[in-house]
């Protein structure tokens, strides 16, 4: 069992990536009931911006990260205004069909533009290697990912709980029609949160490249994981998404480590168990 602490660290780090890439989807699903299966394309978009900026323009990794977040956020606001807003109020089937179509458009476009292969993205030297943490050697980059995930989760939770705009978002998530009835411009609020969610996905995608790799099928490859995080966490909740993402990361990594033949299915067992236990999310009895 000497591998347990490492498995936990790797699982949590993976969970934090899933959290960053899927929290925007959870919030937009809660706010406007939008089932956006193309959300992973923002993560992939951020990943490509970072990978290409580093490999072709020599941009340092730490600068490539905000660049990726910004590019994904800009892509988010443009697509929200042009495409996604047309889906609000439509049936879930319409939303699913449309956004799955967008995933395939993304795959085709990314393949045509950048090729079907993996994008190279090496970590800078100062993020490589391991550190000793109470006698356990853990990957430094994994540690950074966990710290960043926790910091983003705290910032989002505080922003939602302690700021006026957070209260506007919570009111709109709870009752969008009534929110309009007290002068809240729910559409604009949605565009703002959509943009923030896309930006965070872009950041998560960029951070994921050195760990998960990146090719045009990325949004499809991880779609099931994003959906499991959102379903387990519950729509519209940051804390629920954080806990669900951590659990999914831990179970997925532990399952593949300890039960390599069937471990890939462990996360689906977790999802089924969680949905039977708490169908509306882990924080909602």
């Amino acid at each position: 069992m000497t591998g347990l602490p490492v498995v936990v660290f790797d699982g949590l780090a993976y969970g934090m990536l899933l959290f960053l890439m899927s929290v925007g989807l959870a919030v937009t699903l809660g706010l406007m009931g939008l089932v956006n299966l193309a959300h992973g394309a923002f993560a992939a978009g951020g990943g490509y911006v970072a990978a290409l900026a580093m490999s072709r323009a020599g941009v340092p990794f730490l600068l490539a990260l905000p660049l990726a977040a910004l590019a994904a956020a800009v892509g988010g606001v443009v697509l929200e205004r042009l495409l996604f807003r047309r889906l609000y109020g439509r049936s879930p089937l319409d939303q699913v069909l449309f956004t799955v179509g967008l995933v395939y458009v993304w795959i085709a476009a990314a393949t045509a533009a950048f090729g079907a292969g993996q994008q190279p993205a090496d970590l800078p030297g100062f993020l490589q290697g391991q550190v000793d943490l109470g006698g356990v050697r853990v990957g430094l980059y994994r540690l950074v990912l966990i710290g960043l995930g926790v910091a983003v989760a705290l910032a989002l939770a505080l922003g939602l709980e302690r700021t006026r705009i957070g209260a506007l978002v919570r009111a709109s998530v709870e009752d969008a029609e009534m929110a309009g009835g007290v002068s809240i411009r729910v559409g604009r609020l949605f565009a703002l949160t959509f943009t923030l969610g896309a930006g965070l996905a872009g950041l998560g995608g960029a951070l994921a490249v050195p760990v998960l790799g990146l090719d045009p099928t990325f949004p499809l490859k991880y779609l099931a994981y994003f959906l499991i995080v959102v379903c387990m966490g519950g729509a519209g909740t940051v804390t629920g998404s954080f806990l669900a993402a951590a659990a999914v990361g831990l179970v997925d990594v532990a399952g593949k480590y300890y039960l390599p033949e069937i471990g890939a299915f462990a996360v689906y067992g977790l999802a089924v168990a969680a949905l039977v236990w708490r169908p509306n999310g882990v924080l909602r009895a």
């Binding site: 006026r164 009111a171 709870e174 009752d175 009534m178 009835g181 007290v182 411009r185």
Partner: protein, 232 residues
């Protein structure tokens, strides 16, 4: 002559293909009060929701100080001066009392201090979550929240429904005080006498149409006429 605060001209509306309101005409002057009477299911709440822009309107105009606002969403109508206290209150249950009030805040004389002064029960419970309030307290919060919008016209949809008698008095006192400040009111109420006491005019609805119009005072003085018109 300046246009009325709110004019409804030939409005037909409903939900999807179901038409509920049929050719509604009415006007409310600045500071005026209108009681909306009728049995359950005749379209009173649908009319309130239509004024807020929450139904499918198929004909007619809704004019706010002469400007056609029929195409505007609820948030923009509220920003022009409409305030809404919906049936069943619909407070934000996961927000605190104070947050419920703050999310509705618009510039004007009504602020937290003034709302708390009018409704001191809310001040006592400012830190409680919406779901922790009693039905009567939720109604006070729905009223206070609408006041934070600093409206020129307050739409009150059955504000006394389901309240304990002591709370009915608290809510009625507050509405009476508001009516005295010159705030225009549209009040839907099953208890016709309460609505008539607070308003200058009344309309009676039946099957989506306005079937009678009268002065509130005259109607209040003739209970038999109220029963004849409303069936209540």
């Amino acid at each position: 002559m300046s246009p009325p605060l709110l004019a409804v001209e030939g409005v037909t509306a409903g939900y999807g293909r179901a038409t509920i309101l049929d050719g509604i005409d009415l006007a409310i002057p600045e500071g005026g009060g209108l009681a909306l009477l009728g049995r359950n299911g005749v379209g009173k709440t649908t009319l309130i929701r239509t004024l807020m822009g929450l139904t499918d309107r198929t004909a007619g105009r809704i004019l706010w100080r002469g400007r056609d606002v029929a195409g505007l969403p609820a948030a923009e109508r509220v920003r022009l001066g409409l305030g809404w206290v919906p049936q069943e209150r619909r407070i934000f249950r996961t927000l605190s009392v104070q947050e419920n009030l703050e999310v509705a805040a618009r510039p004007g004389p009504w602020d937290l201090a003034r709302v708390y002064a009018l409704l001191p029960r809310l001040a006592e419970r400012r830190a409680n979550q919406g779901w922790q309030l009693s039905g009567g307290e939720q109604q006070l919060l729905a009223l206070g929240r609408a006041l934070m919008l600093n409206p020129d016209l307050l739409l009150l949809d059955e504000p006394l429904e389901g309240l304990a008698p002591v709370m009915v008095d608290v809510v009625l006192d507050a509405i009476r005080e508001l009516a005295g400040t010159g705030l225009a009111l549209v009040m839907v109420e099953q208890h016709a006498a309460d609505a008539l006491e607070l308003t200058g005019h009344a309309v009676v609805m039946d099957r989506g149409r306005i079937v009678a119009r009268a002065g509130s005072a005259a109607l209040l003085a003739d209970p038999a006429r109220i029963v004849e018109l409303t069936g209540l």
